[in-house]
């Protein structure tokens, strides 16, 4: 095992659970709503080499996954739907994962780093935060764009810290969170769930699935279509506009596009990425998982 310089604390297996819980608490104090732990070698069964924790940190033993809620409940309830377009989330889980990594290095003397989650080639992330969350017992995949749903909170956002420290891993959830019971009933009556109804793949939407005996037996997600809607503004929108601009010969026409509201919103979305990651939340808006928690006074 590789360790950082300085006094390295030997972890007594008997104390592992106590130490693990203390590390989780550090993550929660730093802003996470939930923190889970996955064993680094648990990834081997699901992803190829190049996408496993040890590919980024040799000797990796554990992945600490920090989860936070996205927009506040008030934002979900806002009568102005465009508010959610630019109040995506505040990256608290990222801050939390960095704090956790620093804590592990400084307190326990093991190497720890924030896991790389942003795509560096195509749409594949170096390390999948969705898989990390599943392996850390924080949720399961759903019909709605494969989004990981936590049984208590529904949609959450994830970041992780990879460490060479051995910690007590959490168990994966034994039951799938999706479909919820009310969705199963709706499917039996109408042949679709709330998320499928709001964004049906065969009617210009992104989602489809079949359910038997309360379990998902097949699911379809049109990722390309979804990404153009969920990320209508931002990097992709800007790239598309630059492509269009290079194909326009007329200077006035180019000017019209450069100073259009659409162009400005793309730039704003890039510049204020923290506030404006995605612009479509409709499948999650109708999802019953964790919905009761969004009902306040």
């Amino acid at each position: 095992m590789t360790a950082v310089e300085g006094e390295v604390e030997e972890t007594d297996p008997g104390d592992l659970e106590v130490i693990t819980n203390a590390i989780k608490q550090v993550g929660i104090n730093a802003g996470s709503t939930l923190v889970g732990v996955a064993a680094a070698d648990a990834f081997n069964e699901y992803v190829p080499e190049g996408h496993r924790p040890a590919d980024f940190l040799p000797g990796a033993q554990s992945v600490v996954v920090c989860a936070s809620l996205g927009p506040t409940n008030a934002a979900w309830h806002s009568p102005n739907r465009r508010l959610m377009e630019i109040t995506g989330y505040d990256f608290r889980e990222n801050v939390s994962s960095i704090v956790v990594a620093e804590y592990i290095e400084q307190t326990h003397g093991y190497l720890a780093m924030q896991a790389p989650a942003l795509p560096t080639s195509g749409q594949q992330p170096p390390l999948s935060m969705m898989l990390s969350a599943v392996l850390a017992g924080l949720g399961t995949r759903s019909i709605a764009a494969n989004i990981i749903l936590n049984p208590t909170y529904g949609l959450m956002f994830f970041a992780a810290a990879i460490t060479t420290m051995r910690l007590t891993p959490d168990h994966q959830l034994e039951e799938n969170v999706c479909p919820a019971r009310s969705c199963v009933r709706m499917y039996e009556m109408e042949g679709k769930t709330p998320c499928m109804a709001v964004c049906p793949a065969d009617e210009g939407g992104c989602l489809d699935a079949t359910i038997e005996d309360g379990q998902i037996t097949s699911s379809f997600f049109d990722r390309e279509r979804c990404s153009t809607r969920a990320m209508n503004f931002g990097i992709r929108g800007h790239i598309k506009q630059v492509e269009i601009l290079t194909g326009i010969d007329d200077a006035d026409e180019r000017r019209e596009l450069i100073y259009s509201d659409d162009f400005r919103r793309n730039m704003s979305s890039i510049g204020r990425y923290k506030e404006s990651v995605s612009q479509c939340f409709e499948c999650m808006r109708v999802c019953p998982v964790g919905r009761y928690r969004r009902k306040l006074q």
Binding site: G31, L69, P71, T72, N73, A74, A75, H77, S78, P79, N80, R82, L83, I86, T87, D90, R92, L245, T246, A251, R254, R255, I258, Y259, D261, F263, R264, R265, M267, S268, I270, G271, R272, K274, E275, S276, L296, Q297
Partner: protein
């Protein structure tokens, strides 16, 4: 259900905000903004909104104001801390008290319109008063970045300040002697600047402001600069000149300013630099 002690809750929330960096923390009545034009009313963002928590802080540090390099202020101005603080307070309200709360986005809506008139919200809460220069000024701290949290919690409102922070006594004296104020003198609207106005009996009775010109200067880099440079590059028929524009310092800085928008949006602070309100906070050893 047990009636909550709103005065204590208000005090706790504002203390929490101050501990986390707010210089000014006040409560405003959102009803005062309900006669704003459609699209800028608090109730259009949050149904049954009862209170506006207005926080001001994250002003440039005294040393930054004193720096001999203008580039310092061009690249360190930040509203990010206030946005993060607003989000934390909103989440605290929802998780602790079970009332809806949202930090109003500082980004703009369609057609570059704000979601809420932040200045009006600050004035309604007494987190400052309007100024000739434009920004809301707190009597003690002067210019501050603002964030507004809307909530359904019925917190007791503080209400607007009774005394305007602008014009300051020094500015009234200057007006009486020279017919101008520090901010108008540094950026005169009739001489290529953005500000004009009149003071009568110690009160601002008329204000002129060239918003378009100011925007060009304050946001010299950032999105407007990027748009201008990109247009120029695409209009340039000579590929070598085009390359010079695209790889030039100006274009690069616009990109930095966009990617670091939280810390590098504004590039002109001259009217506030000359403003005496809050200047005590900027004078250190």
């Amino acid at each position: 259900m047990e009636e909550l002690d709103w005065v204590s809750i208000k005090s706790g929330l504002l203390d929490m905000a101050r501990k986390r960096g707010a210089e000014v923390a006040r409560i405003g009545d959102p009803a005062l903004l309900e006669d704003a034009e459609p699209g800028l009313r608090p109730s259009e963002l949050l149904t049954n909104v009862k209170s506006m928590i207005v926080l001001g802080g994250a002003a440039p540090r005294a040393a930054e104001w004193q720096s001999t390099r203008v580039e310092v202020m061009e690249t360190v101005g930040t509203a990010d801390r206030m946005t993060a603080l607003g989000s934390a307070v909103a989440r605290h309200i929802e998780e602790t008290y079970g009332y809806y709360a949202m930090n109003v986005p500082t980004s703009t809506d369609q057609d570059d319109k704000a979601f809420l008139d932040f200045k009006a919200a600050a004035i309604a809460a007494g987190a400052g008063t309007a100024s000739l220069a434009g920004p809301v000024l707190d009597p003690d701290h002067g210019f501050l970045y603002l964030t507004v949290i809307l909530t359904t919690m019925p917190l007791p409102a503080d209400g607007p300040l009774e005394q305007p922070a602008c014009p300051a006594p020094q500015c009234i004296d200057m007006w009486e002697e020279q017919g101008t104020t520090p901010c108008m003198a540094v950026c005169p609207i009739d001489d290529g600047g953005c500000l004009g106005g009149e003071i009568d009996q110690g009160l601002v009775i008329k204000r002129r402001y060239d918003a378009e010109r100011c925007r060009d200067r304050v946001y010299h880099y950032w999105t407007p600069g990027y748009q201008a440079a990109l247009e120029r590059a695409l209009d340039e028929p000579d590929s070598r000149k085009r390359k010079m524009i695209l790889y030039g310092s100006f274009f690069t800085r616009t990109m930095w300013s966009i990617t670091y928008s939280g810390v590098s949006q504004g590039q002109c602070f001259e009217c506030v630099r000359a403003c005496p309100v809050g200047s005590k906070q900027r004078a250190l050893q």
